[in-house]
Amino acid sequence: MALEKITEVKGRGVYVAGNEIDTDRIIPARFMKCVTFAGLGEYLFYDVRKNEDGSDKEHPLNDERFAKATILLSGENFGCGSSREHAPQALYRYGFRGLIAESYAEIFFGNCTTLGIPCFCATKEDIQVITAAIEADPSIEVTLDVANERILFGDQSLTAVVRDSARTALCEGKWDMIGELREVEDKVAEVAAALPYMAK
């Protein structure tokens, strides 16, 4: 199963302000009552985007100017809390293909990488610079250069960080590991055989 090599992601950006944006915020638990991920996109950030009567609140994702954004920018420890893959799935199904934040929670970062969503880490200052450029011209194209760990926007560019294992996985088309994990069944059985609790 050949996977796409994700060396670069291009698109418009949108900045969602805040630190510690948790996965309950990204997708509230009540929308996880489902047996497939299909349709989760429409509930992305639901409680901060919508009033209880379903009308829109003020939120960057409700702002027409950023309607076509596919790259989301935020603050520190993005995706903390629950391990729910529903969160990156909702982001992906809403249309996001790349993230820029100061830092990410561990499980969320892994879940994103497994879906082929590059998670760039940038400084607060650099995120503000990119945000200012997006605010000035929402149609500006932001390029996430995964291979070179660069973010390009307009005639500017800056250096960011994509964790080594994620960068390798994305660039070499090995972000979904199921194929490689299945290659060594015998070796797995050998390791299992040495562990008494694995016996039937």
Binding site: R182, V184, V188, P196
Partner: protein, 474 residues
């Protein structure tokens, strides 16, 4: 060379180094529940793959089960579809399911240990971030996403980068009225909600030596709230004593061999850690959260912070939290009115949690206008509490005694806050909207502190309310 438990368990389960530099790690015990597993079974079907080691995956149903009735079909058709889907998936693949009629159903992190499935020196994963709970037994236990559940079902392995290890020593003695919940809230308050990113936390010191297994579980459970995907305590005699005679524990000669094997996994006395942090137990007070993440915590005798009094970089988050929580900035948190009191969850829904709360609750009444619910973490906990008459103490005090499940911890079931109700909760997350209402407010605390809040109708110092024999600090 000396090694930590983390390294020993890792080495015993490492299959190979993958092309992306991560390790292919055998996960010996896979736990699943109804919320994060159905999509994984779907992916497996799409790829035409089988469950490789069905005898090493165990299922239960917890998030969506109503706690007031076990009548099926559930009133919520979406919840009903989820339990039916899990039944079908388990039947088709041969996975053991602790279903509602089994008498063993409950929150996955309560069920694993009480069935003896959670064992030292093992690797455990579950599509649930509070899987760190199982580390209390000296296991490497971690939360994973649904795609990794698929990987585990198909191969019993997953790709993972090795974590660093931070040893957290809590030395000295806890003062009366201070519980495991206070210890972990204090640790998170000090080290931050992202302080543990990239680390496994090894908890040690006199306090952990003296803690019961259930207390160790409470602390390990909330490791993830401090950013650490894994938290563990080295196995000792208490661990073995807890496991002896459990349904999935080894028996006979195999038991003696297992204990020897388990002992060998404990961190070597002279092993090195990537980081070490010390806490003095005597400085820890009953702790409550005031904000919208578990780091935003204060002791019960402190005041809610002010924006002005906070470091510049923290100001926006403090302001956001104060606005959401509608608490009096700069004033005591003690005395803030509560609407709902909840004792339960994978953090504090075990026998000792109800025993301790009942000990103080006896003879008291829940304040008028307060809705109080006690939700055992499993059917087994429920039965033992009933045998001991604990449910009567709760009911006589004015609590509702419910059936086992996640209940109000995350409100994927009918137990939810309404509007901006304020909840005194023994659960683990005070995120915006966490307990089911987009404007609902959560204050995390120990079960005894929840009992005190229920009795007073406001956030209270349990040591004062129940006359715990200790001078409350000035």
């Amino acid at each position: 060379m000396s090694k930590s438990l983390f390294e020993k368990v890792w080495d015993a389960h490492a299959v190979k180094t993958l092309s992306n530099g991560q390790t292919q790690l055998l996960i010996g015990t896979h736990l699943i529940h109804e919320v994060t597993s159905p999509q994984a079974f779907g992916m497996l079907r799409d790829l035409n793959l089988k469950v490789a080691y069905p005898h090493r995956t165990f299922a239960t149903v917890d998030h969506i089960v109503p706690t007031d009735t076990r009548l099926e079909p559930f009133a919520d058709p979406l919840a009903d579809a989820m339990i039916r889907e899990l039944r079908t998936n388990c039947e088709e693949t041969g996975v053991t399911f602790f279903d509602l009629p089994s008498g063993k159903q409950g929150i996955v992190h309560v069920v694993g240990p009480e069935q003896g499935i959670t064992q030292p020196g093992t690797t455990i994963a579950c599509g649930d971030s509070h899987t760190s709970t199982h580390g209390a037994f000296g296991a490497i236990a971690l939360g994973i996403g649904t795609t990794q559940i698929r990987d585990l079902l198909a191969t019993q392995t997953m790709a993972l980068a090795k974590l660093k290890v931070r040893r957290i020593n809590v030395t000295g003695k806890l003062r009366p009225g201070v519980y495991a919940k206070d210890v972990i809230l204090h640790i998170i308050r000090q080290l931050g909600v992202k302080g543990g990113t990239g680390y496994a936390y090894e908890y040690a010191g006199e306090v952990f030596d003296e803690f019961s297994m259930e207390e160790r579980m409470t602390v390990c459970n909330m490791s993830i709230e401090g950013g650490a995907r894994v938290g563990y305590v080295n196995p000792d005699e208490k661990t073995f004593e807890y496991l002896k005679g459990r349904p999935y524990s080894p028996t006979g000669d195999a038991w003696d061999e297992a204990v020897e094997n388990w002992k060998a996994f404990a961190s070597d006395p002279d092993c090195a850690f990537d980081d070490e942090v010390d806490f003095d137990a005597s400085t820890i007070a009953p702790t409550v959260t005031w904000g919208i993440n578990p780091e935003q915590a204060i002791s019960i005798v402190e005041n809610v912070p002010t924006v002005e009094g906070t470091a510049e970089k923290d100001k926006p988050l403090i302001a956001e939290a104060l606005e959401y929580m509608k608490l009096p900035a700069g004033a005591p948190i003690k005395g803030v009115k509560v609407n709902v009191c909840f004792i339960g969850s994978c953090t504090n829904g075990r026998l000792s949690d109800f025993e301790e709360a009942a000990k103080y609750l006896k003879g008291h009444k829940v304040a008028e206008g307060v809705k109080a619910i006690a939700v055992p973490g499993s059917q087994v906990v429920d039965v033992i509490c009933r045998e001991k008459g604990l449910h009567t103490i709760f009911e006589e005090a004015g609590f509702e005694w419910r059936g086992a499940g996640c209940s109000m911890c995350l409100a994927m079931n009918p137990d939810k806050l309404i509007g901006d109700q304020l909840s005194a909760s023994s659960s683990n997350r005070n995120f915006k909207g966490r307990q089911g209402s987009p404007t609902g407010r959560t204050v995390l605390m120990s079960p005894v502190m929840v009992a005190a809040a229920a009795v007073k109708g406001e956030i209270a110092d349990a040591r004062e309310v129940f006359g715990v024999n200790e001078l409350v600090e000035a």
